[in-house]
């Protein structure tokens, strides 16, 4: 994959480049400030963009703003946003234009290299990657009966779905068969009163998030 990176911290930037190139990806361009991002993306048209939220010149949310601008100018461009901390509001803004090809993760997650690359590839393929911390916050907020009626297993499945995982990954991370996952998902949708969705893609993420956010 061809990747464009925006990260102002040299240590982290080099780390990301090393991580990506050593796993067979190509870093097409690197931005160190907010205003550089959009021209760079327009120039290189990468398969996915990895953007840090806090960037010069203002050291505020330049990266997030660039990501939102990129999603308007290049709707097909998958964007993965990284940050030192996660905010539900930012997740909502990123998902405002749909969950297709969107990722929002804590920088900590980069350390789990395989999982990070998995999320990156998922986003690049049009999927979704939402940080577990955001999902946990959303889940903690809803304390109503349907959610309480879920078994621990079903809760776990729901969380993983909200994070954007497909059935195969869910099965692997829970160490169960895909058929078992399928059954859990059916139960979850039934208990929450959601229309059953078979696809494991971004539509399912949106449906689950919409439920959690309601």
């Amino acid at each position: 994959m061809r990747v464009v990176i925006a990260e102002d911290n040299a240590l982290l930037r080099e780390g990301l480049v090393l991580l990506l190139t050593s796993s067979g990806h190509e870093v097409a361009g690197v931005a160190a400030t907010g205003p550089e991002i959009l021209p760079l993306l327009l120039e290189h048209r990468p398969d996915v963009a990895v953007l840090d939220v806090r960037l010069p010149p203002g050291f505020r949310d330049e990266g997030l703003r660039a990501a939102l601008a990129a999603r308007e100018r290049l709707p097909e461009l998958p964007v993965l946003v990284l940050s030192q901390y996660v905010e539900e509001t930012y997740a909502a803004e990123l998902l405002g234009g749909g969950a297709r090809g969107v990722g929002y993760l804590l920088k900590d997650r980069v350390g789990r290299v395989d999982e990070f690359l998995d999320a990156l590839e998922r986003v690049a393929a049009g999927g979704t990657a939402l940080d577990p911390e955001v999902v946990t916050e959303l889940m903690a907020r809803r304390r109503d009966d349907p959610l309480d009626s879920l078994t621990p297993r079903e809760r776990e499945v729901l969380e993983l779905m909200a994070q954007g995982h497909d059935n195969g990954t869910i099965a692997r991370s829970m160490v169960v068969t895909e058929r078992a996952v399928h059954k859990h998902i059916g139960n979850v949708f039934l208990k929450l009163g959601l229309p059953p969705t078979d696809s494991g893609g971004h539509r399912r993420v949106l449906a689950v998030l919409a439920y959690l956010n309601a």
Partner: protein, 394 residues
């Protein structure tokens, strides 16, 4: 006629009390003489500030009397007598108010007694004249009101002599302000120190300890690398978990110091984010601040952070304990303060039970450190309203 007699009697009473003040002034002269003698011989310099305070109280009484008689307050302006004895003596002597009080006391000694005496002399002829005028000629009394005029004269003179000059008033106001600022600054510095110690402890016990443990695990993994790859692998897994926990810990500490979203979005944006993720239907209204993320005037960082924590705490309490489904948050810029108000339509009774607790205490402490005020009203049955005012210059 009856009215006129009543008025004159009232004026006479005023002048009589004035005469008593004059006598006290006479005593005061004695005190002043004694004070100067013992002060000049150095042995009793401690008496001086006390005498000045006594003089101030006497002058204060006359001010109140005059204000009551004329219906208009007489301003007062003294430099505060504080600090070690030499400083108090210097202030007591240097204060223009002291000189003014002494001049007044000397004058009062004279006019207080003279006017009182005149009013007493006036009574018999005035009653005769006005009795004839009103009883026989049916005209208005003219002599009795003269007693009132005398009292008015006494009040006018006292007012003139006791009203501080504009510069003295300004000096005294400035001195009072400095005193207040010194006290609040000391409080702010103490609070700042306590905050630094808390952060130091958090980092020391949390992230720092975890990083040490992490480094140890990596060291052990290196040693086991060749001989026991399975153990090395397990140690590295542990190390990664430790690193993630250290990061989470640091994030927590950073949020406690200054929530990053405040930097990103300003107070308005940050509070909107809080409202959106509160789990309540929370409306946010903003006056005088930039309504859109980054524009508009911004309060000092410490004030923004305190306001943010107030809203966060209030909304958390509302969502957890009040049973409310709706809340409203308002932020308002005032000339010299930021006003934060959070209201929920819940069952009220906050602070009485479990729901009060450490959250509200922490909120009060944080606000007090910035010289702000917290007002909580939470009658049983609701609504709960928390109103916080944080002084700041915009």
């Amino acid at each position: 006629m009856r009215e006129a007699i009543k008025e004159a009697a009232r004026a006479c009473l005023h002048l009589t009390v004035g005469a008593a003040v004059s006598l006290l002034c006479c005593l005061m002269a004695g005190v002043a003489l004694f004070t100067s003698v013992v002060t000049l011989t150095v042995i009793g310099a401690g008496v001086l500030p006390e005498s000045v305070l006594l003089l101030r109280r006497l002058a204060g009484w006359e001010r109140r009397r005059t204000a009551a008689w004329t219906g208009a307050p007489v301003p007062e302006a003294y430099l505060p007598l504080e600090g070690p004895l030499p400083a108090r003596v210097r202030t007591a002597v240097g204060d223009p108010g002291t000189r003014q009080d002494l001049v007044w006391a000397a004058a009062q000694l004279l006019y207080g007694l003279v006017l009182w005496y005149l009013s007493l002399l006036l009574w018999t002829p005035a009653l005769l004249v006005d009795g004839v005028r009103t009883g026989l000629a049916g005209r208005r009394p003219v002599a009795l009101p003269l007693v009132g005029r005398l009292a008015g004269l006494a009040a006018d003179w006292s007012r003139t002599l006791l009203t501080p000059s504009p510069s003295a008033a300004r000096d005294a106001a400035l001195a009072a302000r400095i005193e207040q600022l010194t006290a609040t600054r000391a409080g702010a510095i103490a609070a700042h120190g306590a905050e630094l110690r808390r952060i130091e402890r958090d980092l020391h016990d949390g992230a720092q300890a975890r990083l040490v443990a992490l480094s140890m695990r990596i060291g052990l993994a290196r040693r086991a690398y060749d001989s026991d790859p399975a153990t090395a692998r397990r140690l590295l897994d542990d190390a990664q978990t430790q690193a993630e926990e250290a990061l989470a810990e640091l994030r927590h500490v950073v949020r406690g110091i200054h929530p990053p979203i405040l930097t990103d979005r300003g107070l308005t944006g940050a509070v909107r984010a809080l409202a959106a993720s509160s789990g309540l239907e929370a409306a946010v209204s903003v006056t005088g601040l930039g309504d859109h993320d980054q524009d508009g005037p911004r309060a000092p960082a410490a004030v923004e952070a305190a306001a943010y924590f107030v809203v966060a705490e209030a909304l958390t309490n509302a969502a957890k304990h009040s049973g409310a489904a709706r809340a409203s948050v308002s932020l308002a810029r005032e000339p010299a303060a930021l006003r934060v108000r959070v209201r929920d339509e819940g069952r009220g009774g906050a602070e009485a039970g479990e729901s009060g607790g450490s959250g509200l205490t922490g909120m009060r402490r944080r606000v007090a450190a910035l010289d702000g005020t917290v007002r909580l009203t939470s009658p049983s049955g609701g609504p709960t309203v928390i109103e916080v005012e944080l002084p700041c210059v915009w």
